[in-house]
Protein backbone atom coordinates (compact mmCIF):
# COMPACT_ATOMS: atom_id res chain seq x y z
CA UNK A 1 0.00 0.00 0.00
CA UNK A 2 1.04 3.56 -0.54
CA UNK A 3 0.19 6.75 1.21
CA UNK A 4 0.80 9.95 -0.71
CA UNK A 5 1.16 12.92 1.57
CA UNK A 6 1.19 16.45 0.22
CA UNK A 7 1.12 19.96 1.67
CA UNK A 8 -2.48 21.17 2.03
CA UNK A 9 -3.67 23.67 -0.52
CA UNK A 10 -2.86 27.19 0.60
CA UNK A 11 -0.05 26.06 2.86
CA UNK A 12 3.39 27.34 2.03
CA UNK A 13 5.45 24.71 0.23
CA UNK A 14 9.01 26.01 0.18
CA UNK A 15 10.42 22.79 -1.27
CA UNK A 16 8.06 22.90 -4.20
CA UNK A 17 9.03 26.51 -4.83
CA UNK A 18 12.74 25.71 -4.68
CA UNK A 19 12.38 22.93 -7.24
CA UNK A 20 10.21 25.07 -9.47
CA UNK A 21 12.91 27.76 -9.48
CA UNK A 22 15.71 25.29 -10.11
CA UNK A 23 14.28 23.47 -13.12
CA UNK A 24 14.34 26.29 -15.71
CA UNK A 25 18.01 26.93 -14.92
CA UNK A 26 18.70 23.33 -15.95
CA UNK A 27 16.98 23.86 -19.24
CA UNK A 28 13.62 22.36 -18.30
CA UNK A 29 10.92 24.83 -19.18
CA UNK A 30 7.15 24.69 -18.92
CA UNK A 31 7.02 23.32 -15.39
CA UNK A 32 4.55 24.69 -12.87
CA UNK A 33 2.61 23.81 -9.73
CA UNK A 34 5.45 21.86 -8.20
CA UNK A 35 4.74 20.39 -4.79
CA UNK A 36 6.97 18.16 -2.76
CA UNK A 37 5.45 15.76 -0.28
CA UNK A 38 6.11 12.34 1.14
CA UNK A 39 5.57 8.84 -0.10
CA UNK A 40 5.01 6.14 2.48
CA UNK A 41 5.01 2.54 1.31
CA UNK A 42 4.02 -0.20 3.69
CA UNK A 43 2.49 -3.62 4.01
CA UNK A 44 -0.53 -3.81 6.29
CA UNK A 45 -2.44 -6.91 7.25
CA UNK A 46 -5.62 -4.92 7.74
CA UNK A 47 -5.83 -2.07 5.20
CA UNK A 48 -8.96 -0.78 6.91
CA UNK A 49 -6.66 0.50 9.62
CA UNK A 50 -4.74 2.74 7.23
CA UNK A 51 -6.86 5.88 7.50
CA UNK A 52 -6.55 5.76 11.28
CA UNK A 53 -2.78 5.30 11.01
CA UNK A 54 -2.58 8.29 8.73
CA UNK A 55 -4.59 10.52 11.04
CA UNK A 56 -2.66 9.44 14.07
CA UNK A 57 0.91 9.16 12.94
CA UNK A 58 1.74 9.27 9.27
CA UNK A 59 0.18 12.60 8.39
CA UNK A 60 -0.08 15.95 10.13
CA UNK A 61 -3.68 16.79 9.23
CA UNK A 62 -3.19 20.46 10.10
CA UNK A 63 -0.81 20.98 7.24
CA UNK A 64 -1.01 17.88 5.05
CA UNK A 65 -3.54 16.05 2.92
CA UNK A 66 -3.19 12.40 2.07
CA UNK A 67 -4.38 9.81 -0.34
CA UNK A 68 -4.19 6.05 -0.02
CA UNK A 69 -3.44 4.05 -3.13
CA UNK A 70 -2.80 0.37 -3.46
Amino acid sequence: MRVLVRPKAGILDPQGQAVERALPALGFGGVSQVHVGRLIELEVEDPAQLPAMCEKLLVNPLIEDYEIVS
Binding site: P14, Q15, A18, V19, A22, A25, L26, V36
Partner: protein, 223 residues
Amino acid sequence: MKFGVLRFPGTCDEVDAQLAAERVANAEILWHGDRDLKGVDAIVVPGGFSYGDYLRVGAIARFSPLMESVIDFAKQGGPVLGICNGFQILCEAGLLPGALLPNRSLRFICRQVDLVVQRTDTPFTNACEEGEILSIPSKHTTGCWYAPPALHEQVEANGQVLLRYAPGQNPNGSLADVAGVSNEAGNVFGLMPHPEHAVDPLTGSVDGLKLFTSIRDSLAAHV
Protein backbone atom coordinates in the same frame (compact mmCIF):
# COMPACT_ATOMS: atom_id res chain seq x y z
CA MET B 1 48.26 31.40 -1.82
CA LYS B 2 44.56 32.07 -1.79
CA PHE B 3 41.53 29.98 -0.80
CA GLY B 4 38.18 30.61 -2.48
CA VAL B 5 35.18 29.94 -0.25
CA LEU B 6 31.86 29.39 -2.03
CA ARG B 7 28.65 31.11 -1.01
CA PHE B 8 25.23 29.85 -2.10
CA PRO B 9 21.88 31.16 -0.91
CA GLY B 10 21.50 29.35 2.42
CA THR B 11 25.21 28.84 3.12
CA CYS B 12 25.94 29.49 6.82
CA ASP B 13 29.56 28.64 7.56
CA GLU B 14 31.32 30.54 4.78
CA VAL B 15 32.54 33.40 6.95
CA ASP B 16 33.89 30.99 9.55
CA ALA B 17 35.61 29.02 6.78
CA GLN B 18 37.11 32.22 5.38
CA LEU B 19 38.40 33.24 8.82
CA ALA B 20 39.86 29.78 9.37
CA ALA B 21 41.60 29.81 5.98
CA GLU B 22 42.92 33.29 6.67
CA ARG B 23 44.84 31.93 9.62
CA VAL B 24 47.12 30.11 7.18
CA ALA B 25 46.76 32.03 3.88
CA ASN B 26 44.51 34.46 2.05
CA ALA B 27 40.87 33.73 1.45
CA GLU B 28 38.06 35.22 -0.54
CA ILE B 29 34.33 34.48 -0.77
CA LEU B 30 33.02 33.53 -4.23
CA TRP B 31 29.38 34.06 -5.21
CA HIS B 32 27.47 31.07 -6.63
CA GLY B 33 26.09 33.02 -9.56
CA ASP B 34 29.52 33.98 -10.91
CA ARG B 35 31.70 31.70 -12.97
CA ASP B 36 35.02 33.31 -12.23
CA LEU B 37 37.16 31.54 -9.65
CA LYS B 38 39.27 34.72 -9.39
CA GLY B 39 42.54 32.86 -9.59
CA VAL B 40 42.24 31.10 -6.23
CA ASP B 41 44.55 28.16 -5.56
CA ALA B 42 42.17 26.01 -3.53
CA ILE B 43 38.42 25.81 -3.09
CA VAL B 44 36.41 25.36 0.09
CA VAL B 45 32.76 24.40 -0.32
CA PRO B 46 31.49 25.33 3.14
CA GLY B 47 28.66 24.15 5.36
CA GLY B 48 25.15 25.39 5.84
CA PHE B 49 21.85 24.73 4.16
CA SER B 50 22.24 25.75 0.54
CA TYR B 51 18.78 26.07 -0.98
CA GLY B 52 17.32 25.14 2.38
CA ASP B 53 18.32 21.48 1.91
CA TYR B 54 15.13 21.34 -0.12
CA LEU B 55 14.45 18.34 -2.36
CA ARG B 56 17.71 16.64 -1.32
CA VAL B 57 20.77 18.00 0.45
CA GLY B 58 23.17 19.57 -2.02
CA ALA B 59 21.00 18.72 -5.01
CA ILE B 60 20.13 22.21 -6.16
CA ALA B 61 23.40 24.00 -5.31
CA ARG B 62 25.33 21.52 -7.40
CA PHE B 63 23.93 23.14 -10.55
CA SER B 64 25.02 26.71 -9.90
CA PRO B 65 27.27 28.41 -12.49
CA LEU B 66 30.12 28.60 -9.98
CA MET B 67 29.96 24.84 -9.39
CA GLU B 68 30.57 24.24 -13.08
CA SER B 69 33.83 26.14 -12.74
CA VAL B 70 34.66 24.22 -9.58
CA ILE B 71 34.08 20.93 -11.39
CA ASP B 72 36.53 22.02 -14.12
CA PHE B 73 39.00 23.18 -11.48
CA ALA B 74 38.78 19.81 -9.75
CA LYS B 75 39.21 17.91 -12.99
CA GLN B 76 42.42 19.82 -13.58
CA GLY B 77 43.68 18.64 -10.20
CA GLY B 78 42.97 21.74 -8.11
CA PRO B 79 42.41 21.02 -4.41
CA VAL B 80 38.76 21.17 -3.30
CA LEU B 81 37.65 20.74 0.31
CA GLY B 82 33.95 20.16 1.04
CA ILE B 83 32.70 20.59 4.59
CA CYS B 84 29.30 19.24 5.69
CA ASN B 85 26.88 20.72 3.16
CA GLY B 86 29.92 21.18 0.92
CA PHE B 87 30.60 17.44 1.19
CA GLN B 88 26.98 16.78 0.26
CA ILE B 89 27.22 19.10 -2.74
CA LEU B 90 30.44 17.47 -3.97
CA CYS B 91 28.81 14.03 -3.73
CA GLU B 92 25.79 15.27 -5.67
CA ALA B 93 28.13 16.79 -8.25
CA GLY B 94 29.81 13.42 -8.72
CA LEU B 95 33.19 14.74 -7.56
CA LEU B 96 33.14 12.47 -4.53
CA PRO B 97 31.91 8.90 -4.17
CA GLY B 98 28.76 7.97 -2.28
CA ALA B 99 25.86 9.92 -0.85
CA LEU B 100 24.82 11.34 2.49
CA LEU B 101 21.68 9.89 4.10
CA PRO B 102 19.74 11.16 7.11
CA ASN B 103 21.33 10.50 10.49
CA ARG B 104 20.16 7.26 12.01
CA SER B 105 18.59 9.25 14.87
CA LEU B 106 16.82 11.44 12.30
CA ARG B 107 17.96 14.36 14.42
CA PHE B 108 20.33 17.24 14.05
CA ILE B 109 23.25 16.47 16.35
CA CYS B 110 25.84 19.05 17.37
CA ARG B 111 28.73 17.47 19.22
CA GLN B 112 32.53 17.46 19.47
CA VAL B 113 33.86 14.22 17.93
CA ASP B 114 37.22 12.52 17.67
CA LEU B 115 38.45 11.66 14.19
CA VAL B 116 41.19 9.17 13.46
CA VAL B 117 43.55 10.19 10.68
CA GLN B 118 43.89 7.28 8.22
CA ARG B 119 46.58 8.67 5.93
CA THR B 120 49.00 11.55 6.08
CA ASP B 121 50.31 11.46 2.52
CA THR B 122 47.48 13.57 1.10
CA PRO B 123 47.01 17.29 0.35
CA PHE B 124 44.47 17.46 3.18
CA THR B 125 46.19 15.58 6.00
CA ASN B 126 49.93 16.05 5.49
CA ALA B 127 50.16 18.26 8.59
CA CYS B 128 48.79 15.41 10.76
CA GLU B 129 50.65 12.54 12.39
CA GLU B 130 49.99 8.95 11.41
CA GLY B 131 47.01 7.71 13.47
CA GLU B 132 46.53 11.12 15.08
CA ILE B 133 43.20 11.88 16.69
CA LEU B 134 41.62 15.22 15.78
CA SER B 135 38.94 16.72 18.00
CA ILE B 136 36.51 18.61 15.77
CA PRO B 137 32.84 19.54 16.12
CA SER B 138 30.23 17.86 13.97
CA LYS B 139 26.71 19.22 13.36
CA HIS B 140 24.23 18.02 10.79
CA THR B 141 21.01 16.11 10.13
CA THR B 142 22.09 14.33 6.97
CA GLY B 143 25.59 13.03 7.46
CA CYS B 144 25.39 9.26 7.20
CA TRP B 145 27.82 8.46 4.41
CA TYR B 146 26.74 5.58 2.23
CA ALA B 147 28.06 3.82 -0.84
CA PRO B 148 26.82 0.62 -2.44
CA PRO B 149 29.02 -2.36 -1.47
CA ALA B 150 31.11 -2.46 -4.67
CA LEU B 151 31.81 1.25 -4.54
CA HIS B 152 32.58 1.13 -0.84
CA GLU B 153 35.06 -1.68 -1.40
CA GLN B 154 36.75 0.30 -4.13
CA VAL B 155 36.93 3.45 -1.97
CA GLU B 156 38.54 1.46 0.84
CA ALA B 157 40.91 -0.34 -1.51
CA ASN B 158 42.06 2.97 -2.98
CA GLY B 159 42.66 4.40 0.45
CA GLN B 160 40.16 7.21 -0.13
CA VAL B 161 38.93 7.25 3.45
CA LEU B 162 41.08 9.92 5.09
CA LEU B 163 39.19 10.33 8.38
CA ARG B 164 37.07 7.98 10.44
CA TYR B 165 35.09 8.63 13.60
CA ALA B 166 36.89 7.20 16.62
CA PRO B 167 35.34 3.93 17.80
CA GLY B 168 31.96 4.52 19.45
CA GLN B 169 31.76 8.16 18.34
CA ASN B 170 30.03 7.86 14.98
CA PRO B 171 27.20 10.40 15.36
CA ASN B 172 25.17 9.52 12.28
CA GLY B 173 25.46 5.82 11.43
CA SER B 174 27.90 6.39 8.60
CA LEU B 175 29.21 3.27 6.85
CA ALA B 176 32.48 1.97 8.33
CA ASP B 177 32.66 5.09 10.52
CA VAL B 178 33.62 7.13 7.50
CA ALA B 179 33.88 10.82 8.39
CA GLY B 180 35.60 12.01 5.24
CA VAL B 181 36.49 10.61 1.79
CA SER B 182 38.49 11.83 -1.14
CA ASN B 183 38.09 11.22 -4.86
CA GLU B 184 40.28 8.68 -6.57
CA ALA B 185 42.76 11.27 -7.76
CA GLY B 186 43.08 12.55 -4.21
CA ASN B 187 42.57 16.26 -4.93
CA VAL B 188 38.95 16.50 -3.77
CA PHE B 189 38.06 15.76 -0.17
CA GLY B 190 34.78 16.01 1.75
CA LEU B 191 34.00 15.52 5.42
CA MET B 192 30.98 16.00 7.64
CA PRO B 193 32.70 17.49 10.74
CA HIS B 194 33.67 21.16 10.71
CA PRO B 195 37.41 21.88 10.77
CA GLU B 196 36.71 25.61 10.34
CA HIS B 197 35.11 25.60 13.78
CA ALA B 198 38.21 24.12 15.40
CA VAL B 199 40.84 26.79 14.83
CA ASP B 200 40.83 28.86 18.03
CA PRO B 201 41.44 27.66 21.60
CA LEU B 202 38.94 30.25 22.86
CA THR B 203 36.01 28.62 21.10
CA GLY B 204 37.14 24.99 21.11
CA SER B 205 40.05 22.93 19.83
CA VAL B 206 42.58 23.95 17.17
CA ASP B 207 42.85 20.59 15.41
CA GLY B 208 40.84 21.69 12.39
CA LEU B 209 43.57 24.11 11.39
CA LYS B 210 45.70 21.15 10.31
CA LEU B 211 43.49 20.57 7.28
CA PHE B 212 43.94 24.14 6.10
CA THR B 213 47.68 24.02 6.80
CA SER B 214 47.95 20.77 4.87
CA ILE B 215 46.35 22.27 1.79
CA ARG B 216 48.62 25.32 1.92
CA ASP B 217 51.75 23.22 2.40
CA SER B 218 50.92 20.76 -0.33
CA LEU B 219 50.44 23.63 -2.78
CA ALA B 220 53.70 25.22 -1.68
CA ALA B 221 55.48 21.91 -2.25
CA HIS B 222 54.29 21.89 -5.86
CA VAL B 223 55.52 25.33 -6.73
